[in-house]
Symmetry: C2
DNA sequence: AATATGGTTTCTCTAAAGGACAACAATTAT
DNA sequence: ATAATTGTTGTCCTTTAGAGAAACCATATT
């Protein structure tokens, strides 16, 4: 039996790693949804929920795990169309975008 | 008195022009929210609500009206960060993004 | 007819970013 | 210890965003 979620870090660990502990400015802004888009967190979260590795997600989408990693860590800003592809083909989900006035 | 909304085409006209009349495949997909993001429509709609011209929106954002036009017509795919800038600085709104699983 | 306004389209150009590949680090299992 | 799995990071090449300016079209106004 193939063990899943072996080395998958938790969302909390991920957030702390990238944005610091709760209580710090950056982290609070993230939780509140302010600041720049942290699409990486969204994607990371969604991937965890599906129990997929970066590699699995990548292969489903025709991209690479390194690229997935960079998106999740906000090192690269993926195109909307690319995000869409990843979310739909890779996660079977839907990317939603709206403008609040 | 400066007349506003002179030559602003309506959203319906805009959609019909770019995606065809209601009942056509492409247009129906648009209305249903499927297919690629029609972020252009969202932006166009938001701009109309604010009663701004492309030029006004452009100058507030430090970009050009030709660029705004291209985004609205899905000729260029704006970066998320750029969209954010336009929505926040230009329209005083907020760009929202989410992943639905 | 001419002028003004709003929008579309075409062109050129360059700095920036997308995205792939491979090597690397870190954790866990054997 | 070592091998396997997951994720990160450095390098590299190619594509494109986005600026800038211009011409063009449509509609409305004088």
């Amino acid at each position: 039996m193939k063990t899943k979620n072996n080395n998958l870090i938790t969302l909390e660990e991920f957030k702390e790693k990238n944005y610091g502990k709760r209580g710090t400015k950056q982290r609070d802004e993230l939780e509140a949804g302010y600041e720049n888009f942290k699409i990486g967190v969204l994607l990371h979260e969604a991937r965890l929920e599906k129990g997929l590795t970066q590699e699995e997600l990548a292969s489903k989408t025709g991209t690479t795990k390194s690229y997935i990693s960079k998106i999740e860590n906000n090192i690269k800003e993926a195109r909307i169309s690319t995000l869409q592809k990843i979310v739909e083909l890779g996660l079977g989900g839907k990317l939603e975008l709206s403008i609040k006035l």
